[in-house]
């Protein structure tokens, strides 16, 4: 009988060892974070406060778990060994080429799409009396039919239909649009160079193509001469720094490197001289400012050298990717166009490349959860040559359309 139980005795010993040693080590590791959470929420006056405190403490315990990354990698390894293409209850799906996309079983049509288009129309009407041009820019989503290949029936979220419908509504409302899907996808660059496997963003190379397409469109649509010799759109006038297998994107962080792999990252900076000022207000309301060349003002070089792959995204290299408000001033082109772009993180590198062709680029992130900018007020207080609205297709949702919700009083 003793022989029968020996294996259980051994495991019980291991179990106790893990419980206590990991428990103690984890407690020490989490002590500071958990104490801070407790202090922040300890004022309880009703049962809701108590529930909130418990929930927050438990959340901190889960988020700050000792060795969490190792556990996520273990999970990812098991998923990979099992050949799983879905991640986290089909939140994401991996295609046949290893690219992670958003998945979605069922999505109700957004009944407010037409209303969003009307809101942009109202914005356009409110600024056109000042001669300001308005343009909606539609970047490509990562899922591309016939390129992103999944098993038949896999519930990948094909956002292209939403984009098509929204562009139609905008055109019906007299709003001009620039659909970047075609110029990007037909640029000649292979799909693997246009999108990251582990992140929802397009690559910096694709962002540069987006910039080129924008300039070409502005010249054609508005008759302006931004870059007549195509100097700024010529990649040979830029430095390209290649960082192989150095980036773990937002989607990849959910499943770990073992499952999703790492992406290559390319940094593109101008070879030509630049003199820029970048200002921003972050989510905490703190002001930031950097001045100098493109590398000094725009590029967050510290992020490139960071080894914190799980918490730092290389994509943040360009103007920290996203703040509630940013502004780039080009000291070398004071007569250049003045642009406001209501945008998301997709356009951070694109607008960075556009900066040398402009005098000022103001940026507002409508989805900011704090330090929000009142867009209507901002338009009243400032005048622009162009107002661009750019939303990554999965951001075409109510939370992004915080402006001109009612008809403009004429």
């Amino acid at each position: 009988m003793k022989h029968f139980f020996m294996k259980k005795y051994i495991f019980a010993g291991i179990f106790l060892l893990i419980l206590f040693t990991f428990g103690i080590a984890n407690f020490i590791h989490q002590f500071e974070a958990t104490s801070k959470t407790f202090q922040k929420y300890q004022k309880v006056t009703n049962q809701e406060d108590v529930r909130k405190l418990i929930k927050k403490v438990e959340g901190t315990v889960n988020d700050e778990l000792l060795g969490k990354i190792s556990f996520i990698e273990t999970y990812g390894y098991i998923q990979k060994v099992m050949g799983k293409d879905e991640v986290d209850n089909f939140t994401y799906g991996k295609d046949k080429n290893g690219f992670l996309n958003y998945a979605s079983f069922y999505k109700e049509d957004d009944p407010k799409l037409m209303e969003y288009a009307k809101q942009i129309r109202r914005l356009k009407e409110s600024v056109e009396k000042n001669g300001t041009k308005t343009l909606f820019i539609n970047p490509p989503g990562k899922y591309v039919p016939n390129i992103s290949v999944y098993d038949k029936g896999f519930p990948v979220n094909d956002i292209n239909q939403v984009q098509d419908e929204f562009l139609l509504y905008l055109n019906n409302n007299g709003v001009e649009t620039l659909d970047l899907r075609k110029p990007i996808l037909e640029s000649g660059l292979p799909y693997e160079k246009l999108f990251y496997k582990t992140d929802h963003h397009w690559t910096i190379e694709a962002a540069f193509l987006g910039f080129s397409a924008m300039v070409a469109d502005m010249e054609s649509r508005y008759g302006v001469s931004l870059d007549p010799s195509k100097f700024y759109r010529n990649l040979s006038n830029y430095n390209t720094y290649f960082y192989p297998k150095s980036m773990l994107g937002s989607i990849g962080r959910n499943s770990g490197i073992n499952y999703s792999g790492l992406d290559d990252f390319t940094l593109i900076t101008p070879k030509f001289e630049t003199d820029l000022i970048w200002e921003a207000i972050d989510l905490n309301g703190d002001k930031k400012r950097k001045e100098g060349s493109f590398e000094e003002a725009i590029v967050q070089l510290n992020l490139l050298s960071s080894t914190k792959i799980y918490s730092v995204s290389r994509y943040d290299t360009y103007i920290e990717t996203i703040n509630p408000w940013d502004k780039i001033t080009n000291k070398k082109n004071k007569d250049g166009p003045k642009i406001l772009c209501i945008r998301d993180s997709y356009f951070s590198p694109t607008l960075s490349f556009l900066a040398p062709l402009c005098s000022e680029i103001h940026m507002i992130w409508p989805l900011a959860t704090a330090s929000n900018v009142d867009i209507e007020k901002y338009l009243e207080e400032n005048s622009f040559d162009y107002v661009f609205i750019e939303l990554y297709p999965h951001n075409i949702k109510e939370e992004a359309f915080t402006f001109f919700k009612s008809e403009v009083k004429k």
Partner: protein, 480 residues
């Protein structure tokens, strides 16, 4: 607090185990410690309703004392028992069934005659109420001595391993263990292995089946015009739910039994491979054994059981038990339907002498699983209308077609879990374990003895990895 959570595994459990064994010099202090830990465990999830549970403990402790004191006065002791039933069931009714009754009355009279309450359902109220009643009944019947120490009554009612989702322990079964249990490393070891096995069943099997079942059942409520659920997908949903409910619930029972053993308590088994049953009668001897035992001992037998002169009375007794079984599971017509569904087949098996007249084991098994699975559709559906729509979906009678590419995707993504789920629904693992145990000093036996702790350690680490990652982790019996 969930067993499958970081807070429980690496904060609560190590502290409780450590202090418990440090207090080994005194059974009283050990029991008080377990009681305090159990109250804290419950308060973590129900910071306000913990007071309700403490009140229940005090009340039932007092009633037990009063019943015992007035034992010689049968009328008085009976009245006290009635008071106990009234108060315990009244509290249960108020939190769990009042709104259901009010909504149905209002529907019947076509007006808002009565107002609903905003009371939330306290976690585990059905379980601890039944345990409290068990204590009072056992004292009344003289099956056990009254417990004069309210902490011990409190420990029985609130003991954290089985507080929230069972098994429902009858006081008689655990009374002696509260005072006289003997802990040992052997018991602890068996408990630890049982706990981690349950954790694995929950994190790896039940949760993956839940992804399929929850999604498919939710889609069936959207409407076939918006999102048709083809028959193949509907059947996959039923199979997934059949496996989910078994592995989720039996996993919790495994963890509860394992935790009990760690502290020297031996709880009865709550599941005995129900999906190998060949009749519905047999199914209910293997499924949620503690609940069916409770109803048998405290409802069926007092009514006379099947040893009544009149067959009508026997049918009445069965009807009452199955009606109550359905109602116990939740305040919804679907649960009542499910209770009656089981009643019909149990009655039919009895009257048709099912076992005597049938010998084809495979057909009997197919019949049983078909009835069980159809019952689970009602059990899982949000209402009777959805139950009906789901049945139509299963047979392609809802304009939903048969073939589903998404079902193929689900099968491919979950092939390993589904295969394991079907295999582990049978006692094959137990038989292999016993076979290997008999081999003693053989090479295979030795390899198994080395592989077992390695595999269990790996399983535990994998479970913690899934927890750390924050995977889908529902607990379906929390609604009961």
């Amino acid at each position: 607090m969930l067993f499958s959570s970081i807070v429980f595994l690496f904060y609560f459990l190590p502290v409780v185990i450590l202090v418990y064994y440090v207090l080994s010099f005194s059974r009283l202090t050990q029991n008080i410690w377990l009681f305090i830990a159990s109250i804290f465990f419950y308060a973590w999830g129900e910071p306000v309703y913990v007071l309700l549970m403490i009140s229940s403990i005090l009340l039932n402790s007092l009633l037990g004392l009063l019943i015992d004191k007035n034992r010689s006065d049968t009328k008085k002791s009976k009245r006290l028992l009635i008071v106990a039933c009234f108060v315990n069931l009244g509290i249960l009714f108020m939190f769990k069934y009042l709104n259901f009754v009010v909504e149905n009355v209002n529907q019947m009279v076509q007006s808002d005659l009565l107002s609903t309450t905003t009371l939330l359902l306290p976690i585990g109220i059905s379980f601890f109420t039944f345990q409290a009643l068990s204590y009072v009944f056992d004292v009344y019947k003289g099956k056990t001595k009254v417990e004069k120490n309210p902490f011990y009554v409190g420990l029985y009612i609130s003991f954290f391993p089985q507080l929230i989702a069972g098994p429902i322990i009858q006081y008689n079964d655990v009374a002696d263990q509260i005072r006289n249990r003997k802990g040992s490393y052997q018991k602890f070891s068996v408990g630890a292995c049982r706990f981690v096995t349950g954790l694995g069943k929950k994190m790896l099997l039940a949760n993956n089946f839940a992804v399929m079942a929850d999604n498919i059942f939710n889609w069936s409520t959207i409407g076939q015009q918006s999102y048709p659920v083809p028959a193949m997908l509907a059947w996959l949903g039923v199979i997934a739910y059949t496996l989910q409910i078994f592995f989720d619930f039996s996993a919790y029972s495994d963890m509860a039994i394992g935790l009990g053993l760690m502290f020297g308590f031996k709880f009865e088994e709550n599941f005995n491979y129900p999906y190998i049953s060949r009749s519905i009668t047999e199914f209910w001897r293997r499924w949620h054994i503690s609940l069916s035992t409770w109803f048998r001992d405290y409802v069926y037998f007092p009514l006379g059981g099947s040893r009544v002169k009149s067959k009508d009375k026997m049918v009445r007794n069965l009807l009452i038990v199955w009606l109550l079984t359905g109602i116990w599971h939740g305040a919804n017509w679907t649960f009542i339907f499910w209770g009656m569904w089981n009643f019909i087949f149990i009655l039919a098996e009895r009257f048709l002498n099912y076992h005597e007249n049938n010998s084809h084991k495979i057909l009997m098994h197919i019949y049983t699983m078909t009835v069980v699975m159809f019952g689970w559709v009602a059990f899982r559906a949000t209402d009777l209308y959805q139950t009906g729509r789901y049945f139509l979906n299963m047979f392609g009678l809802n304009g939903n077609g048969f073939y589903s590419e998404l079902a193929i995707v689900f099968l491919k993504e979950n092939a390993l879990w589904l295969i394991l789920g079907v295999i582990l629904s049978t006692p094959i693992a137990r038989r292999i374990n016993l076979l290997l145990a008999k081999r003693k000093m053989s090479v295979v036996g030795n390899i198994y003895n080395i592989a077992y702790p390695v595999a269990m350690t790996g399983l535990f680490i994998i479970c913690v990895s899934y927890l750390a990652r924050g995977t889908y982790n529902p607990f379906i019996y929390f609604n009961f």
